[in-house]
Amino acid sequence: MCLAIPARVVELQENDVAIVDLGGVRKDVSLALVEGVAVGDYVIVHVGYALTLLDPEEAEKTLALMAEAGLMEQAVGA
């Protein structure tokens, strides 16, 4: 299964690139495949591309669920 962790956009850069926060880890992603992304939005990231713009409530619910299952500690610890 392709587990998808919501990533929060923390900074928009030039050339359709953004910095996202993924369970406490920051990484660069391309915004070439999504439209209208703003700082604070949640996106799903796959192989370096932001894919889907998520509803913030749903994203937070997913993150809470993953935390509840003990997954986020693993993510930060890894």
Partner: protein, 369 residues
């Protein structure tokens, strides 16, 4: 950062020949942990959120499995809407391979604008089909889909050698002679021809044997799932396989054929022809248990749900990546069978990409001691 898991592939060589292959997956089995104890509607919604790379397929699979567990069959219109959603998602994944992955891997510029247009149009099937048709005529095939589909193997070879589109040039790069990375693993039967008794057995093993979901076997052996398993009877692909074998080229061709035939498949769905039997199927089993199978870009996705007093008691998912990246499965066989010679590294990467795991993967090629 390794939350979604990854696949590590080690190819040991002796000189320029492959010697041994080791595939290690750290993909976690989370279905029971995340979906157990929830109401069926909630489980379906969550499955789509958590596994959102193929979220439509996951949500459809969860709904169908829970319905089957309750002995409910969906209305025909519901089935058609689900199949349409599954097909649109599958097409976007196939397009990704030709517009982004494969060009990037070969050092050619990816067509992000094309992939983006396709994604943005997915909310409306009619608009999506127009966008896909335009992409097929320009970027992918360079001619109308029906003209391209009428080509036999000789016509296909002429097309790729003429190299009018980036996709044609990528296929030309596969060269002549035997396919790259031939696997002898048999195909997992596509949903359309999966026997009831075999489906029941698969669900039983997924429930009873925790390890089965991570390393599934078909009739005691690893099997390959995906476009190649679904499209083997298609004349052009069958001719390619007969002449060159079942390798990376066959897989990529199967995807392109499936993408090109998609308008016809979608028309079948909306007309209600064959609905519920090719892309999505469900089986009610004893003991409040339901099995659902959904065909995705990467292959067959199975969900098994057992309900108790209206809540999920047991939940299992057997995902396509687990079949194709089984430690002794199609990828392993393909890498072990790579022809000795230069560029083993690049060929190994192409083979892994032709099977397309849904998580990040790494390939390390090193000399065996």
């Amino acid at each position: 950062m390794n939350l979604e898991g990854r696949i590590d592939i080690q190819l040991k060589t002796r000189g320029v020949a492959p010697a041994t292959v080791a595939i290690q997956s750290s993909r976690p089995q989370l279905a029971q942990k995340l979906l157990g104890g929830r109401a069926p509607e909630e489980a379906a919604h969550l499955a789509g959120l958590i596994f959102s790379l193929c979220g439509k397929a996951q949500r459809v699979a969860a709904k169908a499995a829970c319905e089957a567990a309750s002995g409910v069959m969906p209305a025909a219109a519901v089935s058609r809407a689900r199949e349409t959603a599954v097909l649109l998602e599958l097409a976007q994944e196939h397009a990704w391979r030709f517009l982004l992955d494969w060009p990037q891997q070969q050092g050619m510029p990816p067509d992000q604008a094309g992939q983006s247009r396709l994604r943005q149009s997915a909310a409306d099937p009619t608009h999506f089909l127009e966008t896909l048709d335009e992409l097929l005529r320009t970027t992918l095939l360079g001619e109308a889909a029906d003209v391209w589909l009428a080509r036999g193997l000789a016509g296909f070879d002429a097309w790729r050698h003429a190299g009018a589109t980036a996709t044609a040039r990528l296929f030309a790069g596969l060269g002549e002679g035997a396919d790259i990375g031939i696997s002898q693993a048999g195909p997992l039967p596509p949903l359309a021809i999966l026997e009831d008794a075999e489906a029941h057995e698969l669900a039983r093993r997924a429930l009873d044997e925790p390890a089965f979901c991570g390393q599934p076997l078909w009739r005691g052996a690893p099997a390959e799932t995906g476009a190649l398993a679904r499209m083997r009877e298609q004349p052009l692909l069958a001719a390619w396989i007969a002449q060159r074998g079942c390798g990376a080229g066959a897989r990529l061709l199967a995807r392109l054929l499936e993408l090109t035939e998609l308008p016809a498949r979608l028309a079948e769905c909306s007309a209600g022809i064959l609905a519920g039997s090719i892309w999505v199927r469900a089986w009610p089993l004893s003991n409040n248990t339901g099995l659902a199978g959904v065909e995705t870009a990467r292959g067959l996705l199975f969900h098994v749900a057992r309900l108790r007093e209206g809540k999920v008691e047991q939940y299992r998912i057997v995902a396509p990546t687990e079949w194709n990246f089984h430690p002794a499965g199609p990828l392993c066989q393909a890498l072990a069978g790579l022809a000795p010679g230069d560029g083993l590294d690049a060929r190994a990467r192409l083979v892994a990409q032709s099977l397309d795991p849904c998580v990040a993967f790494g390939i390390e090629v090193s000399e065996a001691r």
